[in-house]
């Protein structure tokens, strides 16, 4: 069954990657990243064995970091929106403050 | 799974008479009669209302997002109803015995927000959307003090399993643990009350500060249920009816049902965590073994009946308190609500967490 988990994880990761690459909206990109992180987590949990439960620890930390990443990411998106009045990534092509 | 079988009819009955009780209690508080026409003393008024609601046309607004609009109430109800499956009803009867019971419960409750946002957005209405956003902000904010106050209990009980927590608070604690119960939980008092049981073994007595923690829990739970004085998401004077504005008939009754289910859920959880779960409040006093008499025999139907009786009656007291609060306090402003949650309840709950940890050290 581990095999199945891994394949699902690979699939979700690929889909997440596709979302990140294709989408124009910055929030969509964030969603894709979350999906990729979850795919990774699925791997960790599936691999978690024995008393030490290392995989689960990793999964927990990944979740925590993902929460932080989302918070900061969305804050930046809001900031960008405030500034450019859009979150379409192809329209945000200047870094001049 | 079995509890679900119990809870679904129970919930429907509860909502019917809960609404009736709410009307009557508000009437008494406001010094009037309330419903009096249908049935004796207006007893069947709610049933009549319910019948009317079910017969009504299921209106979906033209501009609404049809799919989400139809799903949203069901999502809300399912989420809340699912969490009932984790609750214990009597010593031998628990829906799903998971080690992470309370944690799971909290996780599932937090899903409620998704449904509310879904409903608010799908309605395609300013009031609905505003109500949904307010509701989401409020629920997320008050989840913090709620979780912290529950954490205070968990520090004392040292388990997440609701059934274990229930066992610890009565005369049958020996079934799950060898640790004796001392008065106020303190071994230094050297008064063994394992066999005495009753109110003395409830968590609020085992650690008296938990009463104050329960106050925090109660306030936060009011906010979680979107009930007055924290009913900002559906503040009728400002937002018509919040995220429920566009709902009518059957779907609206589901939303209302979920709301009452939520009330019941937090009250049950409060009773389980603080007020002895399904345990009797009467202690064994020497030869007058009140606790034993009012608890039945472990494993026999009497234990089922007594357990359900005590749990449900205590829960009703809690629900009465909620209704009382609703008809007594004025609605708070949104900024007051936020500052109460973040600036007062959260730090106070953190301080109590520290106290409870120290108390737990004294209990060893």
């Amino acid at each position: 069954m581990v095999l199945f988990y891994f394949i699902l994880s690979a699939f979700l990761f690929s889909v997440g990657l596709a979302i990140v690459i294709t989408r124009k909206n910055a929030i969509f990109v964030l969603i894709g990243i979350e999906l990729m992180l979850n795919a990774a987590n699925l791997n960790f949990v599936a691999m978690s064995k024995s008393i030490t439960l290392d995989g689960q620890f990793f999964a927990l930390f990944v979740i925590v970091v993902a929460a932080a990443e989302t918070a900061v990411g969305l804050a930046m998106v809001l900031k960008v929106f405030n500034y450019f009045k859009t979150v379409e990534l192809d329209k945000i092509n200047e870094l001049k403050g | 799974m079995t509890t679900v079988i119990f809870f679904l009819p129970f919930l429907l009955l509860f909502v019917v008479f809960g609404v009736y009780a709410e009307r009557k209690i508000s009437a008494f508080i406001q010094d009037r009669y309330g419903p009096m026409e249908v049935g004796y003393y207006g007893l069947l008024q709610t049933v009549a209302d319910l019948l009317k609601l079910i017969q009504k046309e299921d209106i979906v607004p033209d501009k609404a997002d049809r799919k989400l609009f139809l799903i949203a109430p069901i999502v809300i109800f399912i989420v809340i109803f699912t969490s009932f499956s984790l609750l214990p009803l009597s010593p031998d009867w628990q829906g799903s015995s998971v080690q992470t019971g309370v944690f799971f419960l909290m996780a599932i409750i937090s899903l409620d927000v998704i449904g509310i946002i879904m409903a608010g957005w799908a309605s395609n209405n300013k009031f609905s959307l505003l109500g949904a956003i307010r509701s989401a902000a409020q629920i997320i904010a008050y989840e913090v003090p709620l979780t912290l106050s529950i954490l205070c209990v968990l520090v004392i009980t040292q388990t997440l399993d609701l059934q274990t927590i229930s066992y610890q608070q009565g005369i049958w604690s020996t079934v799950i643990t060898d640790e004796p119960n001392y008065l106020f939980g303190l071994a230094v008092t050297n008064i063994n009350i394992t066999e005495v049981g009753g109110i003395l073994t409830w968590n609020v007595v085992r650690m008296p500060l938990l009463f104050l923690v329960w106050v925090i829990y109660f306030i936060s739970s009011l906010a979680e249920c979107n009930r007055a004085p924290f009913d900002l998401p559906e503040a009728e004077s400002e937002l018509v009816a919040g995220f429920q504005t566009e709902y009518s008939g059957f779907r609206w009754s589901i939303v209302a049902l979920s709301e009452y289910a939520m009330m019941l859920l937090v009250s049950l959880l409060g009773v389980i965590l603080f007020f002895g779960s399904w345990n009797t409040p009467l202690p064994n006093l020497g030869n007058i073994e009140l606790a034993t008499w009012t608890s039945g025999t472990l494993g026999s139907p009497s234990a089922y009946l007594w357990g359900i009786f005590w749990l449900v009656s205590k829960t009703f007291v809690m629900i009465f308190l909620q209704m009382w609060a609703r008809w007594t306090f004025p609605r708070v402003r949104i900024d007051q609500l936020m500052s109460l949650g973040w600036k007062y309840l959260t730090p106070i709950a953190l301080i109590f967490l520290l106290f409870c940890s120290i108390w737990r050290l004294l209990m060893l």
Binding site: L17, V20, I21, V29, L89, D90, N93 | -
Partner: protein, 665 residues
């Protein structure tokens, strides 16, 4: 600063010095609603101070002087001391300062009752008393200078007490500025003193002077030193030519005039010269004597025709101060000091009695436009205010120099010495003595004129029936002061100053002349003055009848007197107007020449900046912009190669990863 105050007397002196300051602070801290408490509390503190001063006086009188000083700081190897020195004359002056201050405080409780600035007033009175005591006991020229400035400052504040009145503000400013002129002289003196002796300590200076080898310091320098220090006294004691501020200072409340501008502060100059007598060279003393006699005469003349009750007293004060200075100049320093003591009481008594009259007239006539100080509208007050009349009479007789009163004793000594100096030295001293004796007659004239105008004849003002004697408080104060002006208090034999206890301690001047000569001479002069004034101002005379609508400039002499020798006008013409002209010219020069220059440079700068700005914009910016443009274009060109989208980078990265995975597999 090492604090080693040892003896009991030192502690007493410090307490005495401190009490008025405490009183001032108290008055400052207590809120306005407790006005009356402030008055009584500060008076009580003054009384305590007076009591301590009396104790000190008795100790000093019977045993040695108190001398105590401590190191303050070292400056460039020179130790600077701070301390105090109380010898018998200083101790007696202390008693007088404290006592008069106490009486003035008492008087003011009643006099200032209705005033809004009550608290402020008592604060400044306390501060003034503190500084005055400081001047008297300080043993160091610099410390004296500090207190000197402090009393000047208090005087400025108190003259301007009614700061909403324009004339009061002007008068206070005038007093302050005129005093500055004197202070400049004082500072020059201090500078000379430091450069020559490297010390300000009076005791040390005294030893230096006594050990001074002749010719080690040019005598001209010593004369300059003495005169510069005396200049300070000229300013403070209102001597010619700086006496113009004192009559204007009468704008202050009358008790202030009594305390500051009659009894104490103006006498500080006399006391200062007395204290530094050893530093005065003979030439300086001659100048001092000349100045004093001129002042005495001018003051007396100016007092003859005044209408304002306080102005008469002010000019009389100038005249008396002139007497004292003149006495110092001719060598009768003890006599000068004795006159200072007696003058403090009778002049304070006169001022306070005048204040009492003003107060009761003011109470009777509630009219702000009515001048209650004008003697033309007074008259016949003898009947309505008998106690005030008696006090006024006693103090006036003392001022004239009638035997049995204190003024007689002190003036006697001075006249003897002046006469002796004139006889022995001749020259200028003869002129001095003529002026001195003329002043005696004039004094008798203007004092008796004032008495006749105020208290005799009939009342010429309005609301006569409402005029009443003042409260017991004021009466008590007046009685105390008039008692202290009676000769017996100062000498057991009131006809002879030789038996005066003060003079016995200070030292009686040796004289070859019999006393009876000067006595007869001065008495006959006084009688001439009295008779002349009686003939003009006797009750019901024609002159008095028309007096209330008389104008001062009946003839040129009277006008000269009334306008105080036209000194103010002269200063206006000679100093102020030319100065204003100069200032005008300077301002014109500034406007026309300097402003033009500044404008020109500004215009030039603007033009230059425009040119530079153009260069900057066109050339420098052009280069930068051009390069930026080139780089930007290049960037755009290269950007299109990279795909111009953030996700493109991800694609490239993933492709790289894919290749790696592929290779690993």
């Amino acid at each position: 600063m090492e604090l080693t105050v040892t003896s009991e007397e030192s502690w007493l002196s410090i307490i005495m010095l401190g009490l008025p300051l405490v009183s001032a602070i108290f008055a400052l801290l207590i809120s306005g609603r407790l006005k009356v408490i402030v008055g009584w509390l500060t008076s009580a503190l003054m009384l305590a101070s007076t009591a301590i001063a009396v104790v000190i006086l008795i100790r000093v009188w019977t045993s040695a002087a108190i001398y105590n000083h401590l190191g303050w700081f070292d400056f460039a190897g020179l130790a600077f001391d701070i301390g105090f020195y109380i010898d018998p004359p200083a101790a007696l002056l202390l008693v007088i300062v404290c006592l008069v201050s106490f009486l003035v405080h008492l008087f003011s409780i009643e006099y200032m009752k209705e005033d809004d600035g009550f608290i402020r007033y008592f604060t400044f009175l306390g501060l003034f008393t503190f500084s005055m005591i400081g001047i008297v006991i300080a043993d160091n020229l610099l410390i004296i200078f500090m207190f000197w400035e402090l009393v000047g400052f208090c005087s400025y504040l108190l003259i301007g007490h009614w700061y909403k009145k324009e004339s009061a503000v002007k008068a206070s400013k005038k007093a302050f500025l005129v005093n500055r002129i004197g202070d400049v002289g004082f500072m020059i003196g201090l500078a000379i003193c430091w450069s020559q002796f490297q010390t300000f300590d009076i005791a040390q200076l005294k030893t230096e002077f006594s050990a001074l080898a002749p010719m080690s310091i040019p005598s001209v320098l010593l004369t300059v030193l003495g005169i510069s220090l005396f200049t300070g006294a000229i300013g403070k004691s209102a001597q010619f030519p700086l006496q113009v501020w004192l009559p204007d200072a009468m704008e202050g409340p009358t008790p202030v005039s009594a305390l500051i501008h009659a009894a104490t502060m103006v006498a500080a100059g006399v006391y200062f010269v007395f204290r530094l007598y050893f530093m005065m060279s003979p030439d300086a003393l001659t100048i001092i004597a000349i100045m004093g006699s001129i002042t005495a005469f001018m003051g007396a003349v100016a007092a003859m025709t005044q209408h304002d009750i306080k102005k008469v007293l002010a000019f009389s004060t100038i005249s008396q101060l002139g007497y004292m200075i003149m006495a110092l100049g001719v060598g009768a320093k003890n006599g000068a000091l004795f006159l200072l003591y007696t003058h403090a009481f009778f002049k304070a008594g006169l001022f306070l009695a005048a204040g009492a009259i003003i107060h009761s007239l003011h109470k009777a006539i509630h009219d702000d436009k009515y001048d209650v100080q004008d003697m033309r509208t007074m008259g016949g007050l003898r009947k309505t205010m008998p106690v005030t009349f008696m006090a006024y009479l006693i103090c006036s007789l003392s001022l004239i120099g009638i035997p049995l009163f204190s003024g007689f004793l002190s003036k006697e000594i001075i006249l003897i010495e002046v006469l002796q100096a004139a006889l022995s030295r001749g020259g200028i001293y003869i002129g001095i003595s003529i002026l001195a004796f003329l002043s005696v007659t004039l004094t008798a004239y203007y004092v008796s004129r004032q008495l006749l105008l105020i208290f005799f004849d009939t009342y010429r003002g309005k609301n006569e029936t409402d005029i009443h004697e003042n409260s017991i408080l004021i009466k008590t104060v007046l009685i105390i002061l008039s008692v202290l002006s009676i000769g017996v208090v100062w000498s057991l034999n009131p006809f002879s100053m030789e038996s005066s206890w003060v003079m016995l301690k200070l030292g009686i001047p040796e004289s070859s002349l019999p006393h009876s000569w000067t006595m007869i001479m001065s008495l006959s002069l006084i009688i001439i003055g009295l008779l002349y004034s009686y003939s003009r101002y006797r009750p019901a005379s024609k002159h008095v009848k028309n007096y209330h609508n008389s104008s001062p400039s009946q003839n040129s002499l009277a006008a000269l007197s009334f306008n105080n020798w036209y000194l103010d006008s002269i200063y206006n013409e000679v100093i102020i107007n030319p100065f204003l002209k100069i200032v005008e010219v300077i301002s014109k020069v500034e406007r026309i020449v300097i402003d033009r220059l500044v404008d020109l440079s500004g215009i030039f700068t603007v033009v230059f900046s425009n040119v530079v700005g153009w260069i900057d914009r066109a050339i420098v910016d052009g280069i930068v912009n051009g390069s930026v443009y080139v780089v930007g274009k290049a960037g755009v060109i290269t950007k299109s190669i990279s795909g111009s989208k953030a996700q493109s980078y991800i694609i490239l990265a993933v492709i790289g990863i894919l290749i790696i995975i592929f290779l690993v597999l």
